[in-house]
């Protein structure tokens, strides 16, 4: 297993990440009771997000105005596509064995 993809099991994942993956996901079958889960304070999290948003808005405006005051560069930076070949599209592709 490559180290780029962290394994979810064995306690290495934070509880926040686990809840993110598990909560409100998965098939719901009406006849099955869904019992409440102790220890999750969603309201607190939502309140924090609202406050953080306004902070982010103001930071964006300030950063944008600083950028606007700078001389504009000739060409904007572009994200280059990854050099790795597509993963799923060509499953049979082999590694080139060229030598120089």
């Amino acid at each position: 297993m490559t180290t780029m993809i962290q394994r979810p099991g064995g306690g290495s994942t934070s509880l926040a990440d686990v809840l993110d993956i598990v909560l409100d996901k998965g098939i719901v079958i009406d006849a099955f009771v869904r019992v409440s889960v102790i220890g999750i304070e969603l309201l607190t999290i939502e309140a924090r997000i609202v406050i953080a948003s306004v902070d982010t808005y103001i930071r964006y405006v300030e950063a944008m105005q600083q950028l606007g005051a700078l001389p504009r560069r000739a060409t904007p930076p572009a994200l280059t596509p990854p050099v790795t070949p597509p993963v799923a599209v060509y499953p049979q592709q082999t590694t080139p064995m060229e030598t120089t």
């Binding site: 297993m1 490559t2 180290t3 780029m4 993809i5 962290q6 394994r7 979810p8 099991g9 064995g10 994942t13 509880l15 990440d17 686990v18 809840l19 993956i21 598990v22 909560l23 996901k25 998965g26 098939i27 719901v28 079958i29 009406d30 006849a31 099955f32 009771v33 869904r34 019992v35 409440s36 889960v37 102790i38 220890g39 999750i40 997000i49 953080a52 948003s53 982010t56 808005y57 103001i58 930071r59 964006y60 405006v61 950063a63 944008m64 950028l67 606007g68 005051a69 504009r72 904007p76 930076p77 994200l79 596509p81 990854p82 050099v83 790795t84 597509p86 993963v87 799923a88 499953p91």
Partner: protein, 222 residues
């Protein structure tokens, strides 16, 4: 005895100790006896560990965490009898597949610079808190749309399917990718080669790619 439910599998799916299968024909629901009265947040971890173990040996349709049933008959009647054809189709479709969550962090200055090139008016002066917040909200919307487009363009070529997940408040883009199990190493390489900061977690149960009709459309539906 109340049962805690994990997911729907083929009836011959190998199970670890502590779990058992409630089977009907070729399908089964993986269950355990519910120990404590109510699950805690920490139980979500063991729930995920169970599902992550199960997906290594075959397809699993994960059920909502903390779903419970009164007894085996209730499990058979409600999970396995309602629409077994749809369940089989989903199990077939997800055989050999895994979900991987990818978080992308874009450099703010780079994103804002790209937006400013598109629309120089974004840097125009504003006065007053309300106008500043409104401008900031507008920029945040543009940032979100721009980064979402970039993320889609970067991730779509390396996944069989993908869906954007809800943001946290940390400015990261979160996406769920559906990939073949035997392509995970290659996916890791591809994620490492992305031109943005990326972290990934997986393989996970296919939470964001599984769907079953909630119930038959009607008694007479085909």
């Amino acid at each position: 005895m109340t049962l805690l439910l994990y997911g729907i599998v083929h009836a011959d799916h190998p199970l670890p100790a502590g779990l058992r299968a409630v089977a009907r024909d070729d399908l089964a629901v993986v269950v355990s006896d519910l120990g404590s009265a109510e699950p805690t947040a920490e139980d979500a971890r063991s729930h995920l560990d169970v599902l992550c173990g199960l997906i290594t040996t075959g397809p699993v349709l994960p059920l909502r965490f903390a779903s419970t049933a009164a007894d085996d008959d209730s499990v058979r009647d409600n999970a396995l009898s309602t629409d077994p054809v749809a369940v089989r189709l989903e199990l077939d479709r997800l055989t050999g597949m895994a979900e991987v969550h990818v978080q992308l962090t874009f450099d703010d200055t780079m994103v804002l610079g790209a937006l400013l090139d598109e629309d120089p008016a974004l840097a125009r002066a504003v006065t007053g808190l309300d106008a500043t917040v409104e401008r900031g909200r507008h920029i945040a919307g543009r940032v979100d749309a721009w980064t979402a487009r970039q993320a889609d363009a970067l991730l779509r070529p390396i996944a069989d399917d993908l869906v954007r997940l809800a943001d946290r408040d940390n400015g990261q883009q979160r996406w769920a990718l559906l990939v073949r199990h035997d392509e995970l190493d290659r996916l890791g390489d591809a994620i490492g080669a992305l031109p943005v900061t990326a972290t990934a977690i997986g393989p996970l149960p296919p939470y964001n790619f599984v769907s079953l009709p909630a119930k038959p459309v009607s008694r007479w539906g085909f």
